[in-house]
C-alpha cells in the first residue's frame, strides 16, 4: 500500500507503475503462419518500468517522449482505461482502475487522434448527451457550456454534424466536450496534432487560461516542442518506459546541455573562423563555432566558463559588430540528446 504521509498534498500520485504487454511473435511466411496456429511464442514488451511522480493541484505538466516511450500507456492508466501490471496510483484519493466510474466523473480526456463527439450528430447534441452522461446540473451546464463555447469560439459550428467539421474545429469542440462537467484534471494526449498554426495557438491559449484562471490540473503529451515551451513549467521526459527527467525547462537545459548560443553579425568584413578562434580567450574549450553564414557567426558557449558579457566584450572590442543575439539551443536538440541511446525503436506505441 501507498504511504499517505507526506503525499497527501498531491492530487496525482504515481508510484512504481509498470505495464507489461505480451505480444505474440509471428514468424514470417506461410510456414510461420501455420506454425503460429499451434504454438505461439510470446515476447514481453515493457511499456512502463517503475514510473513514479506526483503532481499537485493546478500544475500544468508536459509529458513528453518519443513514439513508443510509454506516454499514452501512462495516460491511459491514469484515465482508468488500462490496468497496470504493478504499481500504485492515486488520483484525488482514488485508484483509477478500481474506482473507474467515480474517477472518470472528475477528469476530462482528449485524445488528439480521435474524437469523443458523436460522428453523425450535430455538435450541440453531443454536448447535451455528455451533459446527461455526466449528470451535469442544468444550471452548471448552461454556465460552463456558454463560457467554453465562447472561449473556443465555436458558436457557428454547433449545429453542424461532427463529420463535416475541419480538424481544427473538431479539436476545439472536443476540448469543450471534455470540460463540460468541470473536471479537476484534464488529460490532453497530443491535442495539437495535425492542427494549423492558428488552431494551435487557440488551443494553447485555451489550455493556459483554463489552467491559470480555473486552476484545472493539466497533463499534456505532445511532440510539438512549441506547445511545451509555451505552456509547461514542468516537464516530465519519458523514454523506453522510464522517466529520464522531471523538472522545469531551465533545469533540463542545465542538466543536458548548459550551452547558450550567440549569433554575431559583423559589420562588413567577413571574419574568418580562424581569426576568431586565435583569440586568447576564445579557445576551443569555451567557445565553439557551430555555424557560419555570410557575415554571421553562430557561437556556442558555456555560461559557467565565460559569462555572456565577457564574450560579447571580447568580440565587440576586436571586431565591428552589427548585431548580437543570445539564445538557448532549440528544445528539440535537448530532448534528442536526452533520449540519446534509449532503445525506443523496438517498442510499439501501446
Amino acid at each position: 500500500m501507498v504511504k499517505y504521509t507526506g503525499w497527501f498534498m498531491s492530487q496525482i500520485l504515481v508510484k512504481d507503475l509498470s505495464k507489461t504487454f505480451s505480444v505474440a511473435q509471428r514468424q514470417p511466411g506461410l510456414v510461420g503462419a501455420i506454425r503460429g496456429l499451434f504454438s505461439r511464442v510470446y515476447s514481453e514488451v515493457h511499456a512502463l518500468n517503475n514510473v513514479s511522480f506526483t503532481i499537485d493541484p493546478g500544475e500544468l505538466v508536459g509529458y513528453i517522449g518519443p513514439n513508443g516511450a510509454g506516454k499514452s500507456t501512462t495516460i491511459k492508466i491514469l484515465a482508468g482505461i488500462l490496468v497496470p501490471t504493478s504499481g500504485e496510483c492515486l488520483i484525488n484519493g482514488r485508484t483509477p482502475w478500481r474506482q473507474r466510474r467515480d474517477h472518470v466523473a472528475d477528469i476530462g480526456v482528449v485524445f488528439g487522434q480521435r474524437s469523443q463527439l458523436w460522428w453523425d450528430l450535430p455538435v450541440i447534441e453531443s454536448f447535451e448527451l455528455l451533459r446527461d452522461i455526466y449528470r451535469v446540473p442544468p444550471q452548471v451546464y448552461r454556465e460552463s457550456s456558454a463560457e467554453l463555447i465562447h472561449m473556443m469560439d465555436i458558436e457557428s459550428v454547433l449545429d453542424t454534424p461532427v463529420r463535416m467539421l475541419s480538424l481544427g474545429q473538431r479539436m476545439r469542440c472536443d476540448l469543450v466536450a471534455s470540460l463540460l462537467h468541470r473536471p479537476s484534471i484534464l488529460f490532453l494526449d497530443e491535442p495539437t496534432i495535425g492542427l494549423d498554426a492558428v488552431s494551435k495557438l487557440a488551443v494553447r491559449e485555451f489550455v493556459r487560461q483554463l489552467n491559470q484562471q480555473h486552476g484545472v490540473t493539466v497533463i499534456l503529451t505532445t511532440h510539438d516542442m512549441d506547445d511545451i515551451e509555451a505552456l509547461c513549467r514542468r516537464i516530465v521526459v519519458i523514454g523506453a518506459g522510464t522517466i529520464l527527467n522531471d523538472g522545469d525547462l531551465a533545469g533540463l537545459r542545465r542538466k543536458i546541455n548548459p550551452e547558450r548560443r550567440l549569433k554575431v553579425e559583423f559589420a562588413d568584413n567577413p571574419v574568418s573562423i580562424s581569426m576568431l578562434d586565435s583569440g586568447q580567450v576564445l579557445t576551443e574549450k569555451t567557445v565553439r563555432v557551430v555555424g557560419h553564414e555570410g557575415n554571421t557567426l553562430h557561437l556556442a558557449f558555456d555560461p559557467g566558463k565565460i559569462t555572456t558579457t565577457d564574450l560579447i566584450h571580447h568580440i565587440s572590442s576586436r571586431f565591428a559588430v552589427k548585431d548580437l543575439f543570445v539564445e538557448n539551443p532549440p528544445i528539440e536538440e535537448l530532448i534528442a540528446q536526452l533520449y540519446g541511446d534509449t532503445r525506443v525503436d523496438k517498442v510499439s506505441d501501446v
Partner: protein, 272 residues
C-alpha cells in the same frame, strides 16, 4: 441516472434512423424473401396429406411477422462499436462515468429497434392491409385475434427484444475479446436464425427435435411471440413461454457482464 442511459438510446436511435436507403433496400429484400417463403410453404401444405402442427394461415402470418421484425434479431453487431474496438476509440467509452455493460446495452437497444421501426411499419402495412386489397387474402398477414392476444403478443415481443439485446451483447463482448469479430460473429447468426424459427417455423421441425427446440434460448426471439400472435400458443397459456424468454435473457445478461468485466482487465488499447 436513468436519464443518462435514456439519452444514449435516444441519440443512437436518431443516428440510426438516418440510414433510410438501407431501410428501403432491406424492405424490398425482405418482401421478396417473404413471398418466396410463402410460396414454398403453400406448395408444402398443398401436397401434405398428414395434419400439420400449424395451419397454413398461421404459417403465413408467422413468416410476415418474421420479415417485418428481422432487424430485431441478433443477426448483426453495432458497426460503430466494432469500429471503436478495432481503432481504439473504445478509450472514450471507458472514460464515461457509466456502467459499461448498461451503456452498451443501451446502444444495443437502439440498434435493434431503430432499423426495425423503419422496416416493420411499411412491411406490416403491406402484409396486413395492401395484400388483402389486392386480392391475395390467403397470403396476407391475419389480424391478431382480439385485445388479449395483442397485449400478450406485445409483452412477449418486448421480452424477445430483451433476449435479442442480451444476446447481441454477447456478440459485442466477443468483439472485445477477439478485436475482429468476423469469425464467431458470422457463424452465430446462422444458428440464431435457424433455432429462432426464422428459416422454418419451429413446430414444422421433426418430432424428435421438438424437445431440444423447446428448451433452447433462441425460440424466444421468434417462435414464442409469433405463435402467440397467430393463436398457435393460446394467449392465456403463454406464461411458461414468456418465463422461458426472461430466464434466457437473464442468463445472457449475467454471462455478458462477467465476460465483459474480465475482458476489461486484459484490454489493450493500441496506438495514439
Amino acid at each position: 441516472m436513468f436519464n443518462a442511459y435514456w439519452s444514449v438510446i435516444s441519440a443512437r436511435y436518431r443516428t440510426l434512423l438516418q440510414y433510410r436507403a438501407a431501410a428501403i433496400a432491406g424492405f424490398v429484400t425482405q418482401l421478396f424473401w417473404g413471398a418466396i417463403k410463402i410460396m414454398v410453404m403453400s406448395a408444402f401444405f398443398a401436397v401434405s396429406t398428414e395434419p400439420q402442427p400449424m395451419k397454413l394461415v398461421e404459417v403465413v402470418s408467422y413468416i410476415w411477422l418474421g420479415q417485418a421484425l428481422l432487424g430485431m434479431l441478433p443477426w448483426s453487431v453495432d458497426k460503430e462499436l466494432e469500429a471503436m474496438i478495432t481503432n481504439g476509440g473504445i478509450s472514450y467509452e471507458l472514460v464515461r462515468p457509466l456502467d459499461l455493460y448498461s451503456f452498451w446495452f443501451c446502444r444495443t437497444i437502439a440498434l435493434r429497434t431503430a432499423t426495425t421501426t423503419l422496416r416493420s411499419i411499411p412491411m406490416l402495412i403491406f402484409a396486413l392491409l395492401l395484400l388483402p386489397l389486392a386480392g391475395f387474402d390467403e397470403w396476407a398477414l391475419a389480424a391478431p385475434g382480439g385485445l388479449v392476444v395483442t397485449c400478450v403478443f406485445l409483452l412477449s415481443l418486448v421480452c424477445a427484444l430483451l433476449l435479442a439485446c442480451s444476446f447481441t451483447m454477447i456478440m459485442h463482448v466477443i468483439l472485445v475479446w477477439t478485436i475482429s469479430g468476423d469469425g464467431l460473429n458470422r457463424i452465430l447468426p446462422s444458428f440464431t436464425m435457424i433455432f429462432s424459427g426464422m428459416v422454418v417455423p419451429l413446430p414444422l421441425f421433426p418430432d424428435w427435435t421438438q424437445g431440444f427446440l423447446s428448451l433452447q434460448p433462441f425460440r424466444g426471439l421468434v417462435d414464442v411471440p409469433f405463435r402467440i400472435y397467430t393463436g398457435n400458443i393460446p394467449a392465456l397459456e403463454a406464461g411458461p413461454d414468456i418465463l422461458h424468454q426472461l430466464i434466457w435473457s437473464a442468463v445472457f445478461i449475467f454471462l455478458g457482464r462477467r465476460l465483459l468485466a474480465s475482458s476489461m482487465h486484459r484490454v489493450v488499447v493500441q496506438g495514439g
